[in-house]
């Protein structure tokens, strides 16, 4: 398994180079896992991406490198200490450094001689391919999909030139992942939404959620869906609710700050029983916080957001595969129960790319609204039923009137202040949770069945936790286990209660300062986590960091 870092200032073309390199590595058979660390600026600063690749499934980034591709001097200063023994630093020879591990190439001059200074990045790509024992078989194919036709030939030449200017340093490893797909968490989520029949997406641009809107917009004509950039976050969610009410499957997406603005309308979807999917790609708050970085600190907010009480579901995405399938499930549950379903992603998952087994479209099932003959005869939009789910018709599609009201209402949807009707209608809505709880997915279990130490986590820390458990159990077989929640609200309790009863220690690993999952678990089950590993510096915890934390201090008593 190899790990390389590509760093420089914003605007130096890191994204483009990384995009090309990860495709080439994937085509060569590797499993590829790329994480992105960037500042909230368009020019300057220090940005970097880390590409980890190998012949086995990778679920976490690591913080030491076989190679550093430095587009500026700062990259060398900041990361050289993390270079492995036989690692290299590839840089242009005008960067002043006396690092013995530096491979200096006159890339800018070579690019100028080729006729375009901007192909220096491709020279570096060529050099990296050679350093890792790759061949040039996939270069033409990948470049065709990555650069515009007039620049194709010169970029291929540049890769060849770079390839010929260094010697092989690492051996190529044969992997079986060339037929897998590679995509970011946000793209996977967007693709899941399309597969679920999304017809209307409204959002206001907000990092790190904007990638979802961009991908959907790029596919809107082919996929026959409307993407609307709203004037504000409040408009975005009210539009999604209006579209859904009128029969078009709808979603809105944002990050925490935007979610704050959407909160009142979340309650509207709740009381009017309109299916809705809301995505929160979390970033560190409060307020503007760290706009381009990662955190898991919106859990307690979204499970209680909006005044009053109404049924909702919250699903945390654990990895790129989850992002696709759980998004489809979010739509299905929203339709079936006529509730808002909130998807929690975060910057780490949303912006990172990973290899994923091609999605199985045959396995997709969607719950569609069920309306009986009897319902048509005497239509009541909010009819009292055994499971609390009422017959939902689409306005204009039948000779029945469909009403929605943010006021408390009766079975017809008409405003009421009757005390009895209020209680009956509240009970009807809340009753939907009983059925929903039956179909909750228990958390994923990783590790030893009769573990002494039980880790609990949720969402995107899944990958780092999984890597940590693998490493730890190699040392002490079966001692460690982990439960990582995807469905998180309502909280599935069965497996947690079973595992926690036999473990000696329960430790929560979370990307926030207060241990929000631990709090939710305590509230719902009375189970108390004995220790916490909490990180809230805006950078995702790695498998290695979790191992280090677990083996150090009083946690290993």
């Amino acid at each position: 398994m190899y790990n390389i870092l590509i760093g420089g200032a914003a605007g130096q073309g890191i994204d483009t180079a990384v995009g090309i390199l990860e495709k080439l590595l994937k085509k060569s058979g590797y499993f590829v896992y790329t994480t992105r660390d960037f500042m909230s600026r368009v020019r300057g600063g220090h940005n970097f991406s880390v590409i980890r690749f190998g012949d086995e499934i990778i679920t976490s980034h690591i913080d030491h490198f076989d190679g550093i591709i430095a587009l500026n001097g700062e990259t060398i200063i900041l990361h050289k200490d993390k270079l492995n023994e036989n690692g290299f630093i590839l840089c242009d020879n005008k960067i002043l450094t006396d690092e013995p591990k530096a491979i200096k190439l006159d890339m800018d001059k070579m690019a100028q001689e080729l006729g375009n200074i901007r192909v220096a990045g491709s020279i570096a790509i060529g050099a990296v391919l050679k350093l890792f024992g790759e061949n040039l078989d996939h270069v033409e194919e990948v470049m065709k999909s990555s650069v515009k036709q007039p620049y194709l030939e010169i970029n291929i030449e540049a890769i060849n030139l770079g390839f010929g200017s260094v010697d092989e340093r690492f051996k190529h490893i044969d992997g079986n992942f060339s037929n897998w797909i590679m995509l970011s968490g946000s793209k996977s989520l967007a693709l899941g939404a399309i597969a679920a029949g999304l017809k209307f997406y409204s959002a206001y641009p907000m990092s790190p959620s904007t990638t979802i809107m961009e991908y959907l917009a790029s596919k809107s004509v082919d996929a026959q869906l409307v993407v609307e950039q709203a004037e504000d976050e409040i408009a975005a969610i009210n539009m999604a609710i209006g579209a859904s009410f009128a029969g078009a499957r709808a979603m809105t997406g944002t990050s925490g700050g935007g979610f704050c603005l959407k909160v009142e309308a979340l309650g509207l979807a709740g009381i009017a029983e309109i299916p809705l999917v809301v995505v929160d790609v979390q970033r560190p708050g409060p307020a503007t916080g760290l706009p381009t970085r990662t955190e898991q600190s919106d859990l307690k907010f979204v499970i209680s957001a909006a005044q009053g009480e109404f049924p909702r579901m919250v699903i945390a995405l654990r990895n790129h595969k989850d992002a696709f399938y759980q998004t489809i499930r979010a739509f299905s549950i929203a339709e079936k129960y006529q509730i808002p379903v909130i998807i929690l992603s975060d910057q780490y998952l949303g912006d990172s790319t990973a290899s994923v087994e091609p999605f199985d479209l045959e396995s997709i099932t969607m719950d569609e609204p069920k309306v009986s003959e009897e319902d048509y005869a005497n239509y009541l939009r909010y009819r009292f039923t055994e499971d609390g789910i009422s017959p939902r018709l689409i306005p204009g599609k039948t000779k029945n009137f469909v009403a929605a009201d943010s006021d408390e209402h009766d079975e017809r949807g008409w405003i009421t202040e009757s005390a009895k009707m209020r209680v009956d209608m509240m009970d009807k809505r809340m009753k939907k949770l009983i059925k929903l709880e039956e179909e909750l997915l228990e958390p994923d279990f990783i590790g030893g069945e009769s573990c002494e130490v039980l880790i609990v986590g949720w969402g995107s820390t899944y990958g780092p936790i999984a890597e940590a458990i693998r490493v730890l159990n190699q040392k002490e077989e079966g001692k460690y286990g982990a439960l990582v929640f995807g469905d998180i609200y309502p909280l599935p309790k069965k497996l947690l209660e079973k595992m926690a009863s036999s473990a000696k220690k329960v430790i929560n690993v979370e990307q926030n300062a207060t241990g929000q999952l631990a709090g939710l678990i305590r509230e719902e089950t009375g189970i108390q986590c004995s220790h916490s590993i909490l990180k809230y510096d805006g950078r995702q915890i790695s498998g290695e960091e979790i191992v280090k934390e677990l083996l150090g201090g009083d946690m290993n008593d």
Partner: protein
């Protein structure tokens, strides 16, 4: 069509409220246009005017205060076969919903927006609204309203609306005519309807409006924007009512590459082959 398609219901408005005639005129307009009530969607926010959808036989969406327009335009985007009509007040449309007012003019989705403008907050019992006159004393503006009133007609023309009209709840025949024109207009149409609030606005009374409004002349050219702006600014001793500005503009549906042809959005099916293509692009 019979005259009772849109039916009568018991209302919660004060006797003498301008809302009664606006509601009656709306029903008449819809009936005269031979609209099928099952294909009409009434949308409102919250407020006295926003109760309108509850008193008419049609589909209804009573959402959040200030948020009627986003829900209404999206419903129209989802199903263009619906006749989407928004009835809501001056606070809802120009205060809490001010941002949506500006930007939905730009979108130009084919919906009709009737603003019941009584220049006061009714449901919350008499505070200044965005259109309240300067100096008006209320329970909150105890020393008189110090804010300049918004001129929504002027604002709508400036923002690029394709149909802008002013009407008066006390002139029923005229109101029905304007409502019909607004509903028939292709694109976003706004009618600012002056109406008395007999409980909370003692300044802008029925008589106040009655003595000031006059019908715009038959030879007035509503396509002349400069003239329209002049008429829109006339809001003092004389208030012109009628279609102040009208312009044929491409609608949202005509401009949108997905909506410009084909079935209504909600009837379009997902093609799994398209998704397979998207997936293979990621290989």
């Amino acid at each position: 069509m019979t005259n009772n398609n849109f039916q009568k219901y018991e209302t919660a408005w004060c006797p003498g409220c301008g809302n009664f005639s606006i509601l009656d005129c709306l029903k008449t307009a819809l009936e005269e246009l031979e609209k099928d009530p099952y294909e009409v969607l009434m949308v409102a926010g919250i407020g006295q005017a926003a109760k309108t959808p509850q008193y008419i036989s049609a589909n209804s969406f009573c959402g959040l205060h200030g948020r009627s327009l986003p829900a209404a335009v999206a419903a129209k985007i989802a199903n263009e076969k619906l006749t989407v009509i928004v009835n809501t007040g001056d606070g809802d449309s120009y205060g809490e919903g001010g941002n949506h007012f500006i930007h939905n003019i730009r979108r130009n989705v084919d919906i009709t927006h009737f603003v019941h403008d009584n220049q006061i907050y009714g449901l919350t019992k008499g505070q200044a609204s965005p259109t309240s006159g300067e100096g008006q004393v209320t329970e909150v503006q105890t020393t008189g309203n110090i804010n300049t009133p918004l001129n929504p007609v002027l604002m709508a023309i400036a923002a690029g609306a394709g149909f802008v009209a002013r009407a008066f709840s006390g002139d029923r025949e005229h109101l029905v005519r304007i409502m019909k024109q607004a509903i028939l207009h292709k694109g976003y149409a706004i009618v600012d309807i002056l109406q008395p609030c007999i409980s909370f606005n003692k300044v802008n009374t029925f008589t106040y409006y009655k003595n000031r409004v006059y019908h715009i002349e038959d030879d007035y050219d509503p396509t002349n924007k400069i003239m329209a702006i002049e008429r829109a600014m006339e809001f003092d001793d004389k208030i012109p009512i009628g279609v102040i500005y009208q312009e044929e503009k491409q609608t949202y549906h005509e401009k949108n590459k997905v909506l410009c042809e084909g079935e209504p959005l909600l009837d379009r099916k997902i093609d799994m082959n398209v998704i397979k293509k998207f997936i293979s692009e990621l290989k």
